[in-house]
Amino acid sequence: MRRTLTLSILLAVATCAAAAPDAAETVRINVDKLRFAPAEATVHVGDEIEWTNGDFVAHTATARDGAWDVALPVKGSGRIVAQQVGEIDYFCRVHPNMRGHISVKPK
């Protein structure tokens, strides 16, 4: 009885993990005193990247290749989902001295 129960729970967990497309993680990057921290991040396809701006001025996280442009309002946040494998340089359009890099690995 007990063994059956354990087994079925394990099965359920296994099924969920396999079926859930949102087993993806959220990778958090802080913006503090005009720095992306961490400036270098490694994520996997499907992961969400979330920037939280702790500064009193607004910033952006803008991909160098133009793939995305995320507004980061004062004390606000913005996010994207990593769509494909690649190396992405990004910066802030208002303060181009703010730079970051994201490595997107296969799932």
């Binding site: 005193k33 005009l34 500064d55 009193f56 001025v57 607004a58 004062v74 802030c92 359009r93 208002v94 303060h95 181009p96 001295n97 703010m98």
Partner: protein
């Protein structure tokens, strides 16, 4: 023409730096006044650009300047209030303002692409001059640790503006 735009703030900077080295160093109340004045000047310039320019990139830049410098100055006011420091007018603030008024009169006479170029070229030169002053005079001379730290964050913001203005100046050529 271009040389004149750049030379003027540079000459001003040299004068300011010289004035301070001969006299006493600026105190925190004067430093706060200079930083605040420098911000107000750039907000006024941005407002003029928003009245005159039709260039999308130039307008966006002016909006960024207006928003950022207002945010910095609001923060500066909150800080001096907290520190019980009353910003004190001084020769550097006066010289900055005088120079800015002359530049504004000059910009007002221009329009179209000539205005855009003159405004952005001046933004490059102005941020360079103010950043130099911050880095070499105001930050080192500030005695209050919180004021020093705040000015350092301000410097990073303005260095960003300088780079932004520089790339815009390149694209307007």
């Amino acid at each position: 023409m271009t040389l004149k735009f750049i030379a003027a703030p540079m000459a001003l900077l040299a004068t300011c730096a010289l004035a301070w080295s001969e006299d006493a160093k600026p105190n925190d109340a004067q430093i706060a006044h200079i930083a605040y004045t420098a911000g107000q000047i750039d907000i006024t310039a941005a407002q003029l650009a928003l009245q005159k320019s039709k260039n999308k990139d130039v307008r966006e830049f002016a909006e960024d300047m207006s928003r950022d410098h207002k945010a910095v100055n609001d923060q500066a006011l909150a800080l001096v209030k907290k520190l019980h420091v009353a910003p004190q007018n001084n020769d550097t603030s006066k010289a900055l303002l005088k120079q800015a008024n002359a530049k504004e009169a000059e910009l007002k006479r221009l329009s179209g692409a000539a205005f855009d170029k003159a405004y952005i070229d001046n933004e490059v030169a102005y941020h360079k001059a103010v950043n130099n002053e911050l880095e070499n005079v105001l930050i080192p001379d500030a005695t209050n640790a919180e004021l020093k730290d705040f000015l350092s964050t301000g410097l990073k913001i303005f260095q960003g503006h300088e780079q932004h203005a520089e790339s815009l100046a390149q694209s307007l050529k």
